[in-house]
Amino acid sequence: MKAKIHVYLKPGVLDPQGAAVAGALHNMGYDEVTAARQGKLIELDLTGDDVEAARKRVDEMCAKLLSNPVIESYSIELA
């Protein structure tokens, strides 16, 4: 089984990377870009095939390690 975890900054939290990327795209002439945000994508390979059990475990991993609850949120996709 594979888990795809998307970790992103909570709304309202400053995203310096996103801001710099938007600036660089503007400098390169991509004026249609009005904002950019950058997040992390973590992919895990998992043994087992109980999707619901896996979701619980991955959720735990996210809360404990993969995201920083002070400034980040996350979402999980299992496949």
Binding site: L9, G12, L14, D15, A20, L65, N68, P69, V70, I71
Partner: protein, 746 residues
């Protein structure tokens, strides 16, 4: 007069940390009830953090003047005269230390990073190019469940910010103690250089000048952070997370360059960084110091988020922002420079002659209050206190003698406070700017940073021994200042001045206030006697969790000058056959010592006493010997006494030391006692003879304590500790601690 404006309740006033008496003053000064925006502004300006309401009454005791002081406390940072620069122009050194304790406990990476960003802004706001960073860190017990994660995050945050802005982090100190389990201390110090006649102050604005906002956009970051920094922690504090700000060191770097470029023109009337309570404190301070009024159009404030209210904009603590009052008609100069650096810039208002702060948002006046009371009428409390009981001295004769001194030395050198902190400082760029001559990795009692393009250097140190401050606040305060002076002296520098960061618990508790007053009194005495004035500083109170306060921790940041780089000392140059000498008397002070804690598991006993006259005489003597070129190595004696200083010297020089013990002081007291005002010197035989002769003439106590040679530290030919073993243990402690850490990526 109605007591409360529409929508305001007693509860809301209380949430703003304003008590009844304070609220009554607001009603009186306004002649009406404040609205929410006005209440927010009073609340941040009168918070402990901005107003120093508990500490002001005592801070005044600290000596702040001296021949070399250009600007003492009261501006963004202190300024001292360091003589001529590369082009013959008079140079100044500008420095300050500040705490970011509470934010770092909640979010260690961002808390520490924004602490570095904030202290850098205090320094470059005054026109200085930052040239060095230091950090003084106190964590909980190493085995405490949170400690590793906090260490890892704080260190990464300090490095992440400092490395990116390109200012070397050259030194610091790190302690571990259960007293900080629930409340770590992250104190950062920044040092900068400027031409003495091109310093910028918050004062100097006149009516009719444009107010220019530069830097990052304003978001809803850290609203009420300033009040949080002054509030005691409880178990719910971790819920307050969203108030943590995120730093952007890339923008800070651009801001430094852009501000220095703007400052090279003559277009600025006054300038102020937006620190705690951002737009509020920066505008009020400039208005107050210039004795003028201020009018802001909130619609013009660059905003990161939509729908922001005036309250949010005025209280936001978004990072990397500055407020500049320009000379009329010179706005273009700022626009051109800040556009080039791709930073936001906007004229958001102007100075007035009304003495009032008037804010307009969407065509309506949302705040109209007199400026003066915000600063002048800030509450000032003479908090009641009692002096804590002073513990009795501890005689070495009453502490059991260990059998093998080498094994004891090994244990002490690999204990948390004494072990190498390479795990930390390897994560800091110590060499960027190419002027670092000595940093954490080098055998130097202070960091040494050259004054660019000259043969001079700054010596910089941070010091405090919280165990002593806890045992005896007065002596502990004295000792912290004396140790900083001693560390600068040991490099051959002339100590000039200090900054401080006074970290204490809740001042509303009488014993905590007693610690605070005791430490300040001790510091004041040491500063006066050593001619080592305080030029800037910061107070951090309410450092406690669930009613348990941290050990009193008045961190001292000392700065000195090495006039000639050829005449300095370090402790890595000992050569075979060198004679080892101790300057100062050894009585074996084991009270509150590292020995007692590590070997006996005790923390009792009185703090060692500092004889300031002796301190001065010994230091001046040592500095003279350094400048006479007689020393191959020089090290101050502090934690762990003679044996630990000898171990440092032996490791750094890769050469053993044969110590000799004689006299009445028991061997463990002799080796590990922490008597103050002492130095360990190594010198070739003929130099040692000359030193002893000078000592006699100057009436300074100097004793021969050993000889350099071999591959071990020994005492009276016994108790051997091989250097290889010592090095492995000393270097191994911290990686072993941290390697158990489960580390998150990024």
């Amino acid at each position: 007069m109605t007591q409360y404006a529409e929508g305001i309740t007693a509860e809301i006033v209380k949430e703003h940390g304003i008590n009844d008496a304070e609220y009554a003053v607001i009603l009186d000064r306004l002649g009406r009830a404040p609205n929410l925006v006005e209440l927010g502004i009073f609340s941040v300006m009168w918070s402990e953090h901005c107003s120093y309401k508990s500490s002001r009454a005592h801070l005044g005791k600290l000596p702040t003047k001296g021949e070399k002081v250009i600007q003492g406390p009261g501006e963004n940072a202190g300024v001292i005269d360091i003589g001529d620069g590369p082009n013959g122009k008079k140079m100044a050194c500008i420095f300050k230390m500040e705490s970011h304790n509470h934010p770092s406990f909640i979010e260690p990476y961002q808390g520490a990073a924004t602490g570095v960003g904030g202290i850098l802004r205090d320094v470059f706001t005054m026109g200085a190019r930052p040239v060095a960073l230091m950090n003084a860190l106190r964590f909980g017990a190493p085995e405490h469940k949170k400690t590793r994660q906090l260490v890892s995050g704080v260190v990464a945050g300090i490095g992440g910010y400092g490395n990116c802005v390109g200012v070397p982090t050259v030194g610091g100190e790190t302690n571990f103690h259960a007293g900080y389990n629930g409340n770590i201390l992250v104190n950062a110090m920044a040092v900068g250089l400027a031409e003495a006649d091109n310093i910028f102050y918050a004062r100097g604005a006149e009516p009719g000048q444009p107010i220019v906002y530069v830097g990052s956009k304003t978001g809803r970051d850290g609203i009420h952070g300033a009040t949080m920094a002054s509030a005691e922690f409880d178990d719910q504090s971790e819920e307050k997370r969203p108030t943590v700000q995120v730093g952007d060191p890339f923008v800070e770097k651009k801001l430094i360059e852009a501000c220095l470029e703007l400052m090279a023109t003559d277009a600025i009337a006054a300038i102020q960084d937006m620190g705690a309570a951002g737009l509020t404190s920066s505008s009020v301070e400039m208005a107050d110091k210039g004795g003028i009024g201020i009018a802001l159009d909130m619609d013009k404030v660059p905003q990161r988020e939509t729908g922001m209210t005036t309250y949010e904009m005025m209280l936001s603590e978004s990072q990397e922002r500055m407020l500049v009052i320009m000379k009329p008609g010179r706005e273009d100069v700022a626009y051109e420079i800040f556009k080039k650096w791709e930073l936001d810039v906007a004229v958001i208002g102007e100075t007035t002659d009304t003495g009032r702060m008037v804010l307009t948002h969407k065509g309506e006046v949302v705040c109209d209050i007199p400026v003066a009371p915000l600063a002048d009428d800030a509450p000032k409390y003479e908090r009641p206190y009692f002096a804590p009981e002073v513990r009795a001295q501890l005689n070495a004769k009453d502490v059991a003698q260990p059998s093998h001194m080498g094994e004891v030395l090994l244990k002490i050198m690999s204990s948390p406070d004494m072990a190498s902190k390479a795990w930390i400082w390897k994560q800091y760029d110590r060499h960027v700017m190419a002027d670092t001559t000595a940093s954490s990795e080098d055998p130097s009692d202070a960091a040494i940073v050259r004054v660019h393009g000259t043969n001079k250097a700054l010596a910089i140190t941070t010091d405090c021994t919280p165990r002593y401050c806890f045992a005896n606040p007065f002596e502990g305060g004295k000792q912290a200042v004396a140790e900083a002076w001693r560390n600068l002296t040991a490099t051959g520098a002339d100590p000039i001045a200090i900054t401080d960061c006074l970290n204490f618990g809740n001042p509303e508790r009488e014993e905590i206030m007693g610690q605070f007053v005791g430490c300040i009194d001790g510091m004041a005495e040491a500063c006066a006697k050593l001619d080592f004035p305080v030029v800037s500083g910061n107070v951090s109170l309410y450092n406690e969790t669930n009613g348990v306060a941290i050990p009193p921790t008045p961190a001292i940041g000392g700065v000195g000058l090495i006039p000639d780089m050829a005449k300095r000392a370090h402790f890595g140059g000992m050569r075979e056959g060198d004679i080892l000498l101790v300057v100062g008397e050894t009585e074996g002070a084991l009270g509150a010592s590292v020995y007692l804690k590590v070997i006996e598991g005790r923390e009792d006993g009185g703090a060692p006493l500092v004889d300031l006259d002796a301190e001065k005489a010994h230091g001046d003597f040592v500095r003279g010997q350094i400048r006479a070129g007689r020393l191959s190595a020089c090290h101050d004696l502090s934690d762990g006494g003679l044996a630990c200083a000898a171990a440092d010297m032996a490791l750094a020089s890769d050469m053993g030391i044969k110590l000799a013990h004689e006299g009445n002081v028991p061997m463990h007291g002799y080796l590990f006692g922490e008597d103050q005002g002492r130095y360990l010197l190594a010198a070739a035989k003929e130099d040692a003879i000359a030193i002893l002769q000078d000592a006699k003439a100057d009436d300074v106590p100097v004793h021969v304590v050993g000889l350099a040679g071999g591959t071990a530290v020994t005492v009276n030919g016994a108790h051997p500790l091989e250097l290889d073993r010592l090095r492995a243990a000393w270097e191994g402690w911290m990686p072993a601690l941290m390697d158990q850490l489960v580390e998150a990526a990024e």
